[in-house]
Amino acid sequence: SQTIHQWPATLVQPVGSPLSLECTVEGTSNPNLYWYRQAAGRGLQLLFYSVGIGQISSEVPQNLSASRPQDRQFILSSKKLLLSDSGFYLCAWRKTGAVDSPLHFGNGTRLTVT
């Protein structure tokens, strides 16, 4: 069976510091991978998605970037965090090519920028 792991679960970082959140998927090959951010009252906002190694699509211009160095690894980064980067970050995967199938989410990272 497939599993998705995200870490860390919680993170408190000062403004201006760098960020690296990691997500890995087990039990499947070449998944589509996603980063969403969930803020209070705003729902889930798609940040990035990837259909393969090195292929990243950005949905929202922002202070963040994503990379996919390996087939089942997806990383969310920032060089300098802003207060507005605070939120609940969720990684998700889906079977490749199955655009009408559900996303499966990890348990998220709660990021607080102080």
């Binding site: 729902g43 798609l46 949905e59 655009v99 199938s101 989410f105």
Partner: protein, 108 residues
């Protein structure tokens, strides 16, 4: 622009009091409507997929239905453990476009 709107934002029910949550969508060429349950501090957990108007799916006390413009999540005789935020989403390109959710509280 594709939009998914959920109502109400919050709903408080007594145990055993049945109700429905609404999800309306404006998506050209719907390719799937999804329902998720999200507990506090956790990622959304997949519940149902609906693909065409008239389709229904059931799981325990939950039943999801789909029309050409809306989906409903019916909760029959809810229990306190059904308390959660319920999200609906529609396929949008390579991803899912989510509504803001309905926060459900079921009291004993």
């Amino acid at each position: 622009e594709d939009q998914v709107t959920q109502s109400p934002e919050a709903l408080r029910l007594q145990e055993g009091e049945s109700s429905s949550l609404n999800c309306s969508y404006t998506v050209s060429g719907l390719r799937g409507l999804f329902w998720y349950r999200q507990d506090p501090g956790k990622g959304p957990e997949f519940l149902f997929t609906l693909y065409s108007a008239g389709e229904e799916k059931e799981k325990e006390r939950l039943k999801a239905t789909l029309t050409k413009k809306e989906s409903f999540l019916h909760i029959t005789a809810p229990k306190p453990e059904d308390s959660a935020t319920y999200l609906c989403a529609a396929v949008s390109g390579y991803a899912l476009n989510f509504g803001k959710g309905t926060s459900l509280l079921v009291t004993p």
